[in-house]
């Protein structure tokens, strides 16, 4: 974990006091509601359907045991005993009171956490691979780069009133697990021909009502130049991005309208001016941050754990868990372990205080005190010994956290939808629960294999529906909830926006529609082919035909 120093602590403390003052000035009338709204949003506080909602930043999804325990305490003291992990690797409380928010922020500050810039038209939480620091295929730990960006973007005086929100993702792996091309800026850590580490920069990706794939703006950026280059991008966006229509204000629209070549020229020109005017960028601060991450002392272990193998032989549930929820670690004898927050029939991403504490204990005991939140709304113990997996599994089981479904059809990404969200046009959680039960049988899941369902309750696409292998978008149609289904979306290296299959369906018909799509896959698949691979090979037409049967029957 990155260790805060006195300055990191000071800025968080001062921000808490600043927010407390903003609340006070709202209540005494100094600030109008129109003025206060962006201020509370920049501190993660929304007014939702039933209550306020506080979004707590979990920078690049990294948490310590102590921090998660504090979140459990806040959930019990100031909320209703649970929290919701989001696709931005953050945590949301659904029931805080405005009056209590400064106290909650104080408790967060006690454990070096905050809610800074988790909403509003500013630079948001920088996200990364949920296996960061552990993955076998990363060329370095991406977290120091993400932390470097976090500090640079925190309370940035110039980029706090952008035309719209701005999201940055970082990855250092060969396989993109951070949805790089779905972000305003995607930063891929690479090595050039000489072995120098630097960054490949993507720009203008995003989901929302106009989904766009990020485009490569810079093939190789030397490491020292990252922050100046980001400053150039942000300044061009701040000045040139549209302000006349909030739905056209994201940088993706600017890139789309003026073209990649023009934005590249503008950014490079601005960058040249920055470089000419300021002292030469250096890596001292990056290296300081890198050193402030404590490196776990991994033991020298055998590749295979006899202990785990024996335990698996005696426990098919454990064997299934090992098959699905372990990810290959860079050190022999270790694995990253996904704790699914997608129990069959449960609300995706929710965890109660007891579960948070149980997971914190596990992190402390088995994973060097570290945890990650994944954009798929699960938790990860990044560094567990294979020898310990059976014990961990037993604890998880006792807390209803041992569902063996990572990457499977019931590992559904789902936004809060109209059960909580003021912007939603339809509910999404009940549908996720229904689909989870519908496909929840272990044998069914195993047969279907890797398949991502992503559900959003409105066009803003917090549930990433565009990039689900099967995407579901809840809308209002003639005064009732209606669900549009897309197919073929992909969040990874073969980034793709899903294709719409036809008219929206009522919630009741969605499971049947998915059955039809999966039947096409089962019929057409070749040996070892996943759902998305078969789709890529055979194309949209057979799925459309199958979908039409349902759509026609309903219409």
């Amino acid at each position: 974990m990155y260790a805060y120093d006195e300055f990191d602590r000071q800025i968080v403390r001062e921000r808490v006091a600043q927010f407390a003052s903003q609340v006070e000035r709202r209540l005494d009338g100094s600030l109008t509601d129109e003025e206060f709204r962006p201020l509370r949003l920049k501190n993660g506080l929304y007014l939702q359907l039933h209550a306020y909602m506080l979004r707590v930043a979990i920078p690049y999804g990294a948490l310590s045991a102590r921090q998660l325990r504090q979140m459990a305490l806040i959930a019990e003291t100031y909320d209703r005993g649970y929290g919701h992990f989001t696709t931005r690797q953050n945590l949301q409380y659904n029931w805080p009171k405005l009056r209590d928010t400064p106290a909650i922020l104080g408790l967060l500050a006690d454990v070096d956490m905050h809610a800074i810039q988790t909403s509003g038209n500013c630079i948001r939480n920088t996200t990364t691979d949920c296996f960061a620091g552990a993955a076998f295929d990363e060329i370095e730990d991406p977290r120091p780069t993400a932390e470097w960006i976090r500090q640079w973007s925190t309370l940035h005086p110039e980029f706090d009133w952008l035309g719209r929100k701005f999201k940055i993702a970082v990855t250092a792996s060969r396989q993109d697990r951070a949805v790089l091309k779905g972000h305003d800026v995607g930063v891929r850590i690479v090595r050039d021909a000489d072995g120098e580490t630097g960054y490949q920069i993507y720009i203008g990706g995003g989901l929302g009502r106009t989904p766009m794939e990020g485009k490569l703006i810079r093939e190789f950026l030397p490491r020292a130049e990252l922050l100046d280059y980001l400053e150039a991008i942000l300044r061009v966006y701040n000045l040139e991005g549209r302000r006349d229509n909030k739905y056209k204000a994201r940088i993706k629209i600017l890139v789309h309208e003026i073209g990649l070549e023009k934005i590249r020229a503008d950014v490079e020109a601005e960058y040249a001016s920055i470089v000419a005017a300021s002292p030469k960028a250096d890596l001292r601060e990056f290296h300081r941050i890198q050193a402030a991450f404590d490196a776990p002392e991994f033991a020298d272990l055998p590749e295979v754990s006899r202990k785990l193998e024996q335990a698996q032989a005696n426990d098919p549930d454990l064997a299934l868990f090992v098959e699905h929820n372990l990810f290959r670690h860079k050190h022999k004898g270790y694995a990253s372990l996904t704790i699914s927050l997608k129990g069959i029939g449960q609300a995706p991403g929710d965890a109660n205080a007891a579960q948070m504490r149980a997971v914190a204990d596990l992190a402390e005991k088995y994973s060097f005190n570290e945890l990650r939140v994944s954009h798929k709304q699960n938790l990860v113990l990044p560094h567990v010994r294979l020898d310990d997996v059976a014990e961990i599994f037993a604890v998880l089981k006792a807390h209803d956290l041992a569902t063996a479904n990572a990457e499977l059809i019931t590992d559904i990404i789902c936004c809060p939808g109209l059960d909580y969200c003021a912007l939603a046009t339809a509910r999404s959680i009940p549908l996720a629960q229904k689909l989870s039960r519908h496909f929840g049988d272990a044998a069914t899941q195993k047969d279907i294999g890797e398949l991502s369902i992503k559900i959003s309750g409105c066009i803003n696409a917090c549930g990433h529906h565009h990039i689900g292998n099967i995407g579901i978008l809840g809308l209002e149609k003639k005064g009732a909830e209606s669900y549009q289904i897309t197919i073929g979306g992909d969040a990874g290296d073969q980034f793709a926006i899903g294709e719409l299959l036809g008219p929206g369906l009522p919630e009741t018909h969605v499971p049947e529609a998915l059955d039809k799509l999966i039947a096409v896959y089962r019929r057409e698949r070749r040996q070892g082919e996943t759902f998305i691979e078969t789709y890529r090979r055979i194309g949209l037409a057979p799925y459309k035909t199958a979908f039409k049967e349902i759509a026609d029957a309903f219409a």
Partner: protein, 106 residues
Amino acid sequence: MAAVKRPPLPVILVANDLVEGEVLFAANNGWTRDVRAARVASDEAAALELEQFGAAQASESKVVDAYLVDVEIEAGVPVPRHYRERLRTLGPSHRLDLGKQAEFHI
């Protein structure tokens, strides 16, 4: 307050308590958290009165986002016509242990 397009009658007035965040309904006297005690406006004059009450309470920093919601009267109780507003009178539909539905046994 500028005359915005009003929903069809009858209507109730919904808002959020500024400090608590909780959903409130204008009652015969002040506010209520239980929709069954909401004041129902069945004519234009009463709707206007509700609207003015909401605006005044907003300017006094008591509530935010006050607006009229059209309802049907079912068993003597106002029920919003739109599913979004119905959810606001109840709570999250997948957590019947939370929100007004739990508190008021609706």
